[in-house]
């Protein structure tokens, strides 16, 4: 899935030269970027977004994060992102000096997308950034789909939701009727309505849909 043109790369580095250089490089590869001089500044931006009611970033994005920064360090920022579950939708690529490699590796184990050692091989970095953006786009799309399924499920009546649960469990209509103590005919009606509302054509498709939404 292509990230799309609105994908954005956040660059958080205390060094203006590095920041601008990266922005310049990304721009040369036609990627939008926003630069932040400190983890605190980025954190403030995120909080303003969340204040607007957005749980996920509005568009595919990724974060190039310097490990070593005065004030809040890159790792501390990463920890807050992990805590809020943002690191999936906004993959984090750490930028490190050679001495920080072990910490960066550790961060990757905890869910960071990648790390890149300074001085980096720039186009390779941009390639990784693009992959990250794709991941972000996927995650966002998935989330959107899940949200849609969720919305459809909320449209169902209680009885229809019961029937759907049993259908997904793979029970034939007869048994569903027995369990819910309703007639087979009624089950068939509910089932048809569930399929219709959930926009699926088979029980298997319904089960897949629900499973992906649950992930």
């Amino acid at each position: 899935m292509e990230p799309g043109l609105d994908a954005i790369v956040f660059v958080v580095d205390d060094d203006a030269g590095v920041r601008d250089g990266l922005a310049w490089l990304l721009r040369s590869r036609r990627l939008l970027s926003e630069t932040y001089a400190s983890a605190m500044a980025f954190e403030q931006m995120l909080q303003s977004q969340e204040g607007a009611g957005e749980a996920s970033p509005p568009q595919p994005c990724c974060l190039l994060l310097d490990v070593r920064m005065p004030g809040m360090s890159g790792l501390a920022l990463f920890d807050t992102l992990v805590a809020r579950g943002l690191h999936a939708a906004m993959p984090v690529i750490f930028l490190t000096g050679h001495a920080d490699v072990p910490t960066a590796v550790d961060a990757v184990k905890r869910g960071a997308f990648d790390f890149c050692e300074k001085p980096f091989s720039d186009n390779a970095l941009v390639d990784r950034v693009e992959q990250a953006l794709r991941r972000s786009a996927e995650v966002l799309a998935q989330r959107r789909a899940a949200k849609e399924v969720q919305a459809r499920v909320t449209d169902l009546t209680d009885r229809e939701r019961d029937v759907m649960r049993l259908v997904v469990e793979g029970l034939p209509n007869k048994l569903i009727a027995d369990q819910l103590d309703i007639s087979v005919r009624t089950v068939e009606v509910h089932r048809a309505r569930v399929f219709d509302k959930m926009d699926v054509r088979s029980a298997v498709e319904l089960a897949n849909l629900l499973r992906t939404a649950a992930e």
């Binding site: 060094d15 030269g17 590095v18 310049w24 040369s28 070593r68 050679h98 001495a99 001085p119 720039d122």
Partner: protein
């Protein structure tokens, strides 16, 4: 003032003299007393003997007087018996002659009438006396008259005082008259006069056993000798005399008895005295002996206690003790010493010359040392270190403290040595040194790591930026045919070409800026190094060597390396950063010693030399050299010797020599190495000498 001091001095002197004098005077007094006592003893014994003799002679005298008295009394009776029957003068003559024959002491008998006229007389037949003179027969001598008057008065026998009767032959005789009044009723009818010869009285009336040994004589009261009887020869030199008064009615005579005795013999008395003295001496010696024995026993007990104490002390010591006499023979070793070297005491005692615990390779050196010692060279007071060998052949370092052994008479009889096993101490030192070194290395490594990290971070930033700009620019140039980026990135301008070139220009400017920034980082490092250069001071080569010597000798001792320093005389001071140069020297010395730490290298010598190098334009140079006699440096190693991070040691960082070279080059000198004369390597470096002001 002066006088007072003089007096005090005298007093002190006299006091000191008095001390010994008093002791002697006591002995003297004792001797004088003993002698005086013996003399008194001898004298008293003599006196006693004399008094014995005297009393005997007095007794004899008294006996003699009694004999005489009783003899006279008997004669008086005989004379009275003569007149008993009123004899006729003729009859009387016969009886008188008879009487005279029996009594030799009677010289003459006269019968006189009351008028004292001679009626009859008889003379002794033993002597012819001069009584026959005609006048005598007629007239009465005055003596006779006096005596008869006294007899008449007494109405009893009376004696006259003695008088001398000469004889016809010219000699005479002292005689005494006895007048015996003859009475009839109360009327005196006549007188019987008997004349006694005094010598005859002595010889006849006194018992022969008395007269045999003494000279007996009659004397008058004034001492005039009247008659004497020489009974004996003079035997001795000393005269004992006794006198006794013989009082007779009407007269008195003194009987004197003289005895010539030898002076009481001194010899037996001296013998007695000697025996007495001997006994006294014997008893006192006995007392002294007993006392002395008691003291000796006490002393022996004390000595035994002291010995036991000393033994316990020696056995509990961990310090080894060894005594040697002046010939170098081992006379004593304590258990700690035996334990230390692993030999039994019997194996060591009496050994002389080469000792079993000397490592064979060093025995020459030790023999020389021992010879020095016996030549009278005193060992250092705080001891010296040496290497000993245990019985199993392992070597161990010892600290030896030796002191001369002075006996009670103040004679130097040998040497006493105390030995401390240093191997444990050495091991601990070595451990602590190793751990200290490791710690230092770690710290240094940490510092270097920190520095490298900081430096790399500082350089990474501009480099990263440069790299980004450059890559971006390349990207742009490759994409020149594509629509302008500016539009996409919101950079305003719609014209692609000018936008691209503007972007590129911006990127190039940024690249330049970042490169300059990187340059600043490098310059700051340079400045740091330059600041250190200002820490240079004038230092003498001796100070530099002295500073590292403790550490060097510590390692040298461990590896068995002999260290020698040779300094040229009159070296100028060098201008250097002391700490850094000391590190360089230490580093080179350690490398040298490690190079020799191989089993094959037996003769391990490290030489630190300092000399004046060839002087250059900028004044003199001082050359330091560190020489070892290890195996030398292989050519392939030599080529990479100063390359950073090149090392042949398992734990080395490979920075030592390269850092050394950097330090020396910062000082303007150079560090080089060359193979040694036969084996080994010489590392040398130069430092600028202080210009004379």
């Amino acid at each position: 003032m002066g006088l007072g001091r003089f007096a005090r001095l005298l007093w002190r002197l006299s006091w000191r003299l008095q001390g010994s004098w008093r002791r002697w005077s006591l002995w003297l007094l004792l001797a004088v007393l003993v002698v005086a006592m013996l003399v008194i003893l001898v004298w008293l014994a003599g006196r006693y003997e004399a008094s014995q003799v005297q009393s005997r002679i007095e007794r004899d005298t008294a006996d003699a007087v009694a004999d005489i008295r009783s003899g006279l009394a008997r004669n008086v009776q005989s004379l009275q018996a003569l007149q008993a029957n009123q004899p006729l003068p003729a009859e009387w003559g016969g009886a008188a002659a008879q009487l005279l024959r029996v009594h030799r002491e009677l010289m003459r008998l006269e019968w006189r009438d009351a008028g004292l006229s001679l009626r009859a007389h008889a003379d002794t037949p033993y002597r012819t006396m001069a009584f026959d003179a005609p006048d005598q027969e007629l007239q009465v001598s005055s003596d006779t008259q006096l005596t008869c008057a006294a007899a008449r008065r007494l109405n009893g026998p009376s004696y006259s005082s003695s008088y001398f009767v000469p004889r016809a032959d010219g000699l005479g005789l002292e005689v005494v008259e006895l007048c015996l009044p003859l009475t009839r009723g109360t009327r005196i009818t006549g007188y019987l006069v008997a004349i006694y010869g005094l010598p005859e009285i002595l010889s006849d009336l006194i018992g022969p056993q008395i007269s045999r040994h003494q000279e007996i004589s009659f004397t008058e009261a004034d001492g005039t000798r009247l008659a004497s009887l020489h009974g004996a020869v003079r035997r001795g030199t000393r005269k004992f005399s006794a006198q006794q008064l013989l009082d007779l009615p009407g007269s008195a005579l003194v009987l004197r008895m003289d005895s010539w005795q030898g002076a009481p013999n001194l010899f037996p008395n001296v013998l007695t005295a000697l025996v007495t003295f001997m006994s006294i001496a014997l008893v006192s010696v006995l007392v002294l002996l007993v006392k002395d024995n008691r003291l000796r026993l006490q002393a022996e007990r004390d000595l035994a206690d002291a010995l036991a104490f000393r033994k316990a002390m020696e056995d509990s010591l961990v310090t080894g003790l060894r005594a040697r006499d002046l010939e170098g023979r081992i006379t004593y070793v304590n258990p700690a010493f035996c334990k230390m070297v692993g030999f039994a005491a019997e194996e060591l005692l009496g050994r002389v010359g080469e000792l079993p615990y000397w490592p064979p390779e060093r025995s020459d050196e030790y023999l020389a040392r021992q010879a020095n010692r016996f030549a009278g060279e005193l060992p250092p007071r705080d001891g010296f270190e040496s290497l000993f060998m245990r019985k199993d052949g392992t070597r161990f370092p010892v600290l030896i403290i030796e002191a001369p052994l002075i006996n009670a008479q103040g004679l130097h009889t040998g040497w006493m040595g105390a030995f401390l096993d240093l191997s444990e101490q050495r091991r601990i030192e070595e451990l602590s040194r190793a751990s200290h070194e490791r710690l230092q290395a770690t710290a240094r490594l940490a510092t270097v790591g920190e520095m490298a990290s900081l430096l790399s971070h500082e350089l990474n930033q501009p480099l990263a930026a440069i790299s980004s700009y450059a890559t971006g620019s390349l990207n742009l140039l490759q994409q020149e045919h594509l629509p302008a980026l500016g539009a996409l990135a919101g950079h305003g301008s719609g014209r692609p070409a000018p936008a691209v070139s503007a972007d590129l220009e911006l990127a190039m400017r940024r690249i330049a800026e970042q490169a300059e920034r990187a340059g600043r980082v490098i310059r700051s490092v340079h400045d740091f190094v330059r600041r250190r250069e200002q820490a240079r001071e004038a230092t003498s080569a001796r100070d530099l060597l002295d500073a590292i010597m403790p550490l060097v000798s510590l390692q040298a001792r461990k590896l068995g390396v002999q260290v020698r320093c040779t300094l040229e005389a009159g070296l100028p001071r060098v201008l250097c950063d002391r700490t850094m140069v000391e590190q360089v020297l230490l580093n080179l010395a350690r490398n040298a010693m490690q190079a020799m730490d191989r089993p094959g290298v037996l003769d391990r010598r490290l030489e630190l030399g300092v000399r004046r190098a060839v002087s250059g334009e900028r004044g003199g140079w001082v050359e330091f050299s560190v020489t070892d006699n290890g195996p030398g440096i292989p050519a392939e190693v030599a080529a990479r010797l100063f390359t950073p991070f090149f090392t042949t040691k398992p734990e080395g960082m490979g920075l030592g020599l390269s850092l050394c070279r950097t330090v020396i080059e910062q000082h303007g000198g150079f560090l080089d190495h060359a193979p040694g004369a036969t084996t080994g390597t010489i590392f040398s470096f130069t430092l600028p000498a202080m210009k004379p002001a």
